[in-house]
């Protein structure tokens, strides 16, 4: 696997076996890297089909743990909570991020632009555990006790930058000539926005919403700290399962959650790839 891919600089020197800039073993190293990256995922999925009660003792192939997981009321409730939180958080975070991105990408240079950008991306820079603690303290200090509502508020906050980034990227790659044409043809500012800008921006908004949804569905630490007894989401429930003992039921639930994330991210990838090619220039 160390065969290098031909680059513009090949065969310059017949005596050297590899072109400049190529090194032996890079390909093999990369293969090893991907094995390291995907081994846990493969192992996790593989053992979800284990019939035995103990994860690590292979007891033959079977789907009983999937059936068990689907019949588990607690898991159903946790899935529900996860979906409610992720859906509401995605809607709010995407809406907030969209108008923020419109201002920051289209508003020209203004005082406070850098600070605004810093504030919006703040949740990305602060370690999750610090965010979790700060929000927990805040809710307790103001005495806010809305159960799942608390979790939703926290999720909206840290999902904003994830929704923001693809939307801003899309806006920055977008040409304004169509919007100008609409204005020239007597469309009002609102009509231009509604019928030209928004449709053009849609792939970015969809991509941002998908990322926000995945991030919210996967969040564990913040929900663990902020959420109370009734607001267990799926990752928090999986954590409690791990602490109780390792059964393949954990693997089965995890596999489903994993596949949902992979499906959404793949869809995101396709959407953003297509939007690269149809962007009007």
């Amino acid at each position: 696997m160390n065969a290098p891919v031909a680059q513009s600089s090949n065969a310059r020197n017949g005596k050297k076996m590899l072109p400049v800039g190529h090194y032996r073993g890079l390909g093999a190293w990369t293969v090893g890297f991907f094995i390291f990256l995907y081994l846990p995922i493969v192992v996790l999925i593989f053992y979800s089909f284990n019939s035995n009660r103990m994860v690590m003792n292979w007891g033959g192939f079977g789907l009983e743990w999937y059936i068990k997981a689907f019949q588990n009321d607690d898991i159903q409730k946790a899935v529900w909570n996860s979906l409610i939180v992720a859906t509401i958080a995605t809607i709010f975070a995407t809406a907030i991020a969209t108008i923020g991105a419109l201002v920051l990408a289209r508003g020209g240079n203004f005082r406070g632009k850098t600070i605004s950008l810093g504030l919006i991306t703040l949740p990305l820079m602060v370690p999750e555990i610090v965010t979790a603690v700060a929000v927990l303290i805040f809710f307790s200090a103001i005495g806010l006790n809305w159960g799942l509502g608390n979790v939703i508020i926290a999720h909206i906050t840290f999902c904003i930058p994830f929704a923001f980034m693809p939307i801003r990227a899309r806006l920055e790659g977008m040409d304004t000539s169509l919007e100008q044409a609409a204005r020239d043809l007597y469309a009002s500012e609102w009509e231009t926005f509604r019928f030209v800008t928004v449709p053009l921006l849609m792939p970015g908004i969809v991509a941002g919403a998908m990322l926000a949804f995945v991030i919210s569905m996967d969040d564990f630490i913040i929900t663990l700290m902020v959420g109370g007894a009734g607001s267990t989401t799926l990752p928090v429930y999986i954590y409690s399962m791990i602490r109780r003992g390792l059964t393949p039921e954990i693997n089965a639930v995890s596999t489903v959650l994993l596949l949902v994330s992979v499906a959404i991210v793949s869809a995101y990838w396709i959407v953003s790839k297509n939007s690269d090619t149809d962007t009007v220039h």
Partner: protein, 301 residues
Amino acid sequence: MNLWLPKTAAGKRWLGLAPSYFVIGIFMLVPMIIMGVFSFLEPNPYGGVKPVGSVAAYVKLFFEYDLEDQLVFNPGYINIIFRSFQLSTGATLLCLIIGFPVAYYITLLPENRRNLYIYLITIPFWTNLLIRTFAWIIILGRGGVIETPLLAAGIIEDSLRMMYTDGAIAIGLTYSYLPLMVLPIYASLEKIDFRLLEAASDLYATRLEVMTKVVIPLCKPGIIAGCILVFIPCLGAFIAPNLLGGGKKLMLGSLVQFQFASARNWPFGAALSMLLLSAVVIMLIFYARSARKRADMEGSG
């Protein structure tokens, strides 16, 4: 229904930014300030705080009260903090060693294949970290994926006892944040003009020199960004030390969580969070400075 909209451009700008400021300001910035205040209060034994000013939380980092109520030096927490830095540094270096050749290899590929590789690197990153770390228990654990074949083949006679060690935590951390190292390095490698490498080679630079004197200096910004992106979440990590370290080998992140969930010493947990936050701020300042210095150099040269 008539919405009042500001007429001026500046007014519209701030109206558009207002929701972001409101949400992140109220639910992130203000909470961090309150956290700072809480770290200087006295703990309430049932969780929460008493409104009495105190630096006890910070004193607790270094000292404890002995039986005669005398303050004596207690290295326990300092050791945990030190261990966190050590493990995070180790994991960051591992990520760099594993990730750099991969990022470099991808840069050499044709463009459509590059995108596929980047997609494959980002996929695990978007899946649940808790689940991926749990999978390492099955791999490293007693009777797990690594041990079982070795035991069956008679290569080892007893369990390797890989779980609940610093090594297991380091593997978990490396695994968790590896994509955050590869992506920025790839981004800066991609910008390198490969003719520079040929020029170096024509001027009799060896292969090693081309790498150490041309490629690495040129992608230094990516390396620094990658190291910071990996180091920060490692320092605050909770899942890897908890699952793979068995909860006994604490790191800063799990120690913070413990103060809120079990020990019910909120001011101490807040003080530890402040410590973590200041480490992050120092690193980001360092990063911003080195970026500015580089920009100045490029500007003048």
